[in-house]
Amino acid sequence: MVKRIIALVVCIMMVAALAVGCGEKPVSQPSASPSATPAPSQSAEASATPEPAPGISGEITMLSNQVNWLESFYPEMIKEFNAKYPNIKLTVDAIEGYEETLKIKMSSDDLPDVLTSFVNTPSAEQREAFLLPLDDTASAGKIDPDFQAFFKGADGKVYGMPYAKDISGIVIYNKKIFKDLNLSIPKTLDELIAAGKTIKDAGYVAGLAMCSKDQWTMCQFDEGGPRFFSGNPNVFNDVLDVNSDAPFTIDGPWGKTFTLIDTLVKSGIVNESPNSYGWEPFKADFKANKIGMFLMASWFIGQSVPDELVNEAGDYVGIFAMPLDNSGKLYAKFSPMPALSIAKSTKNPEAAKALVDFMCLDYNEKLTKAQTGFSTNPDVNVVYDWSSELDAESMAELPKSPEVTNIWNNGAVDFSAKASAVAGGEMTPEEAIEAMNASWAAGRAAK
């Protein structure tokens, strides 16, 4: 008898456990992500106000890569959006590992209505196949067309609307360390190395940090280096000859970039063993005032100080343009930050376009400030206390052409991998150039 009761109770518990995962959730509670991603995800939902109001109505979902905004930033944004469009029901979701998941979502036809898109993902062909052109939206008329150009499809139409840009190829430095050691902003490479040596000798972890264990952090050398060395914003398309098997040379822009990395490491201003130094330990060290300088983009400033000090970040960190050689020429470049796109499969294009316009025009200032970026909307002027110090020539950035992109992808030309090998002393700059040429040739052969 007891055994039967125990068996019955266990069966009920198991069935109940099964039912918990399958039940329908009421609308007012936050719902779980509908996508089959292995990464954890949360979402914020807003309910429509009961006022009857004319205007666009419907339900739309938005997918973003900013997981840290789900609890703080997005609920505010949804409230303001609903103040303008009370009849649109907006659900915002964010996931980790966004770029890989986005590809799977595209191929399995599981896209949300509005999504974040990047310069390289989706590719030009994929944009044409999966996204709606945005040339007819109100934002298209306002947002800087040079930045819209990064999100064009193969047919020349714009498929992504960037609301913000950041400065890349700049050095973020710790103001306290500079003040303690009486250092001034370096304007040439020699001054930079001297300043780095002083910082390293004083016992800090690094004068100029390189956390090349996470190879993507070396991308700034690729973003800035070749363009700045050649003074040509179109360097990718002009120098990389699609008909040549060895477009990279040791005296060319990429060779100079690898040589620069090698010089910096050999001069002793970089932390010990960059290839064992990861991004997260580096960030912790930077916040703890152990690092002098770091080459990255302006979006890093929001993460360079403890969270409670973000609004006064200008008191703790500053920026200056990276001097690449001793010529005194300093460049900084504005790059587009991730943009907003609308999926072709959306059931409510009017509401989706309303959201894109809202974020790019009405809510632009708040969005841009939350990412410590600058606005691509000429009506919005975002300034920070640390941005006024930048003294450099601004250089535009032109995207890789489709042919160059094809060869780059097919040959797996991985600049960051080679840069991290040079930083760790595994490859000389000459070997890195040879490896780049080998990958380029393989990419050409794959066509």
């Binding site: 932390n271 097919n410 797996a412 090998a421 930083a423 990958s439």
Partner: protein, 323 residues
């Protein structure tokens, strides 16, 4: 109950089957016993078989099909291109084969792992105090999730803050750079060694239990020492299990992926990339799905070939022994 109770007397064919048929007809179920048996078997096997086809057989066939196309993983464009991907693998691509040499280091570490596991198994099969505790401690790393273990070793291998280096510095010794070009593959293989030694050991302990005690006793009477006992009695008797463990180790070393992906992301440069790492990177980062599919098919063929060679070598030895 839907079927008549199955009783031992009515099993089997022939006369008994006819009797079962008669009984079933009498009781109103006009079905032969064999048919009922078949229906039960099919009903129970249908779901697992369907799952196997859906999640194992169909994806494998699909991967083979994909390797003959030029799909990039996202667009609906998927054209048949014949052997183009395979020609690229064998004639042009060097990175995939270079990454295969890194797998060799995992295979060597796997061999060492098997030897150590066997010695531990022999030691922990004898009657010593606390042998169950030792067995549990050595097996524990296998239970931990491989991703969590990789993150843990990520911290252990950090040059500045690793506990190992902190201790070495306190002892005034040179700290070790685990993740530089020379050491990185050995460091990553060491993680696998730490995880799987316990697993191999448990399999060997089970195998050792199957050897009869009398052989050991008669060997002892004949004056064999420990080494001779191990070489002439233990090893030949568990030959099949050694083959099984070597197969698991070898195919595991071909599939090494989690440790390089999480700890070094293939770095520094491309020094710690393994074959499977190259496949995943090609598929998801460079959007060359069909090329990655071709690499995967090559990997399957390599694993099958190596297993076949290994089986021939070990079985050949067994044939000689049996003579």
């Amino acid at each position: 109950m839907p079927f008549p109770p199955l009783q031992g007397r009515y099993r089997g064919g022939g006369e008994r089957q006819e009797k079962a048929f008669e009984i079933s007809v009498e009781s109103g179920y006009p079905m032969k016993y064999r048919t009922q048996e078949r229906i039960i078997i099919i009903a129970f096997l249908a779901i697992p078989f369907a799952l196997m086809v859906m999640f194992l057989i169909y994806p494998t066939l699909r991967v083979v099909y994909m390797s003959f196309t030029n799909w990039d993983g996202v667009l609906p464009k998927m054209d048949y291109v014949g052997l183009k991907n395979y020609k690229y693998i064998f004639q042009v691509d060097k990175e995939a084969w270079v990454s295969l040499t890194n797998n060799a280091i995992y295979a060597i570490s796997g061999l060492v792992q098997n030897i150590v596991a066997l010695l531990l198994a022999v030691a922990l099969s004898s009657k010593i105090k606390g042998r169950n505790i030792f067995r549990a401690i050595i097996f524990l790393p296998f239970i931990l999730n491989s991703v969590a273990v990789s993150y843990m070793f990520d911290f252990m291998y950090n040059y500045e803050t690793s506990p190992i280096n902190v201790i070495l510095e306190a002892l005034k010794l040179q700290p070790v750079d685990f993740l530089n070009g020379k050491n990185v593959n050995i460091s990553l293989a060491a993680v696998c060694f730490w995880r799987y030694t316990g697993y191999s050991m448990i399999i060997y302990i089970a195998a050792l239990k199957s050897i009869s005690h009398e052989i050991y006793e008669s060997a002892q009477i004949d004056g064999a020492n420990a080494a001779q006992t191990l070489w002439y009695i233990t090893l030949p008797n568990i030959r099949t299990i050694i083959e099984l463990n070597l197969f698991l180790t070898l195919s595991g070393s071909l599939n090494a992926f989690v440790e390089p992906w999480i700890i070094t992301k293939g770095g520094p440069g491309t020094k710690s990339r393994t074959f499977l790492f190259t496949i995943v990177k090609n598929a998801f980062e460079f959007s060359r799905f069909s090329y990655a599919a071709a690499l995967a098919v090559v990997l399957i063929i390599m694993a099958l070939t190596l297993t076949w060679i290994q089986k021939r070598v070990i079985m050949k030895g067994e044939k000689q022994y049996e003579k």
